[in-house]
Symmetry: C2
Subunit: 250 residues, 2 copies
DNA sequence: CGCCTGGTTGACTAATGTCAAATTGGGTGG
DNA sequence: CCACCCAATTTGACATTAGTCAACCAGGCG
């Protein structure tokens, strides 16, 4: 018998979204991720204006959205899929800054270069804007600027939680915190699946948590032995949430 | 013979600033930290309006500006001194989120609670605003909102650098990165002293770097043995910057 | 069927945390 | 000005944890 496991296709329904091209005027109005994205700040007139500036773009897994050394000329609003954001270090290591989910806005920079690279983990759909056009659109719209602020503050909050995670003592704590944080982010998207899908590889998790793949792997099996989680294809099921949270904070 | 070492008093001249009370209309115009702070976005009329909303507040070392569990009713623009920003963990550990310097803006939150606690390391001068009043002031001013955005993006950048630091392998690397990062932040304030003042305690540094005080101490002495730094009262002198940067990135 | 990638496991090593004691330095009061 | 005290820091010995290197296993695909 064949069990159906949740997949990223079901979680972020690529098939449910008709492949609309730029000439359809109602594209944004029906956008799956609108309520989650920056665009939620806009009225329908503004939305229509913004729509004309953007172009729906798709990326296959492993394809690059942009990379750290490039000139930062585009910004992206993710509508479907999961991306990994990372920096490569001089010594060859890779640090994963975070994972981007639908609704996330990518490409705001301090300088004229991106501050990290981004590439697709799952298939991705994103609205692409020229940075300049987007800035001009937003610059005199307080509602948009406030929304952008809100997004930055949320990102900052995530980043600080991650700092906390990285400075925590044990590998078990890091992994537990990671699972809980990931679950919470998915919950924000309106998904609270019984089984937590993990589309990223062990390597990504390791580089995100500041551990090695071996330690991540060992920790997962340890949590499994302790009956906190159970491994299913492409993810985990949280068996004992209370215990996971206890581990995360002790 | 008595050597004069740089002190926080010289770096952020408390004495140079007359103690002005709220009734002096020119307070903000002559603010030492204006160019660094959010207020730099404002014209003189707006500046005057904002001035009326704020109140200059002073804090002695160890005094608390606000704490994590409080209702977030105030925001602060730091004009002098150094503050430590931290979160206390359920298990009693303390995580230092960062150090705030003149120009930094504190108190933006996602929820109605502060997301960390803040207290003074050196004597502090800050402009205090009610969060509500400040929000009303800013909400329809695109220049102010853009400036706030810029600040958040910069904070985010700092936070991500810190994430990178925390996930780096060796204690030596962390300490070197910390020293360089601190030097760069002071340089932004227009100070590039030969001797790097460190007003915070070893404990603060340890909690910031995710190390123990013992390891921080050992690492400092190791760097000293390697002639990279030399300990002076209240700080360090960078003897070999190139080597420090090499350590930081390898 | 066998290769290739991703994941797991094991044995050993290196680094940091822990606990405890010694040392330094600044501030206070005589 | 000096002696003393307390807090901060440094140092040492040892334990614990994660990293390293290497082998093995499992699933997907040509």
């Amino acid at each position: 018998m064949r069990v159906k496991y949740p997949s990223w296709n079901s979680l972020m329904p690529q098939s449910a979204l008709p492949r609309l091209s730029g000439d359809c005027p109602r594209r944004c109005l029906h956008c799956w991720a609108r309520a989650l994205s920056l665009c939620a700040a806009l009225g329908s007139v503004e939305l229509h204006d913004l729509e004309k500036l953007g172009k729906e773009t798709r990326f296959a897994p492993k394809e690059s959205l942009f990379s750290e050394d490039e000139n930062a000329s585009k910004v992206y609003s993710l509508t479907q899929g999961v991306a990994r954001l990372y920096r490569l270090l001089p010594d060859g290591r890779r640090h994963i800054v975070g994972f981007a989910l639908p609704g996330d806005f990518l490409g705001t920079t301090l300088s004229d270069r991106y501050s990290f690279s981004a590439d697709a983990i799952t298939p991705i759909v994103a609205c692409r804007f020229s940075k300049e056009g987007f800035s001009r659109f937003a610059e005199d719209k307080p509602n948009m600027l406030r929304r952008m602020n809100e997004f930055e503050v949320r990102e900052l909050h995530l980043a600080r939680n991650q700092m906390l995670l990285l400075s925590s003592r044990s590998a078990e704590q890091k992994v537990a915190l990671f699972l809980i944080g990931w679950r919470d982010r998915l919950a924000r998207l309106g998904e609270e699946p019984k089984t937590l899908p993990l589309p990223m590889k062990r390597r990504d998790i390791a580089d995100f948590l500041g551990l090695t793949i071996e330690t991540v792997s060992r920790t997962f099996t340890q949590l499994e032995r302790e009956k906190v989680i159970i491994n299913v294809p492409k993810g985990f099921r949280l068996l004992n949430l209370a215990r996971a949270e206890a581990l995360a904070w002790t």
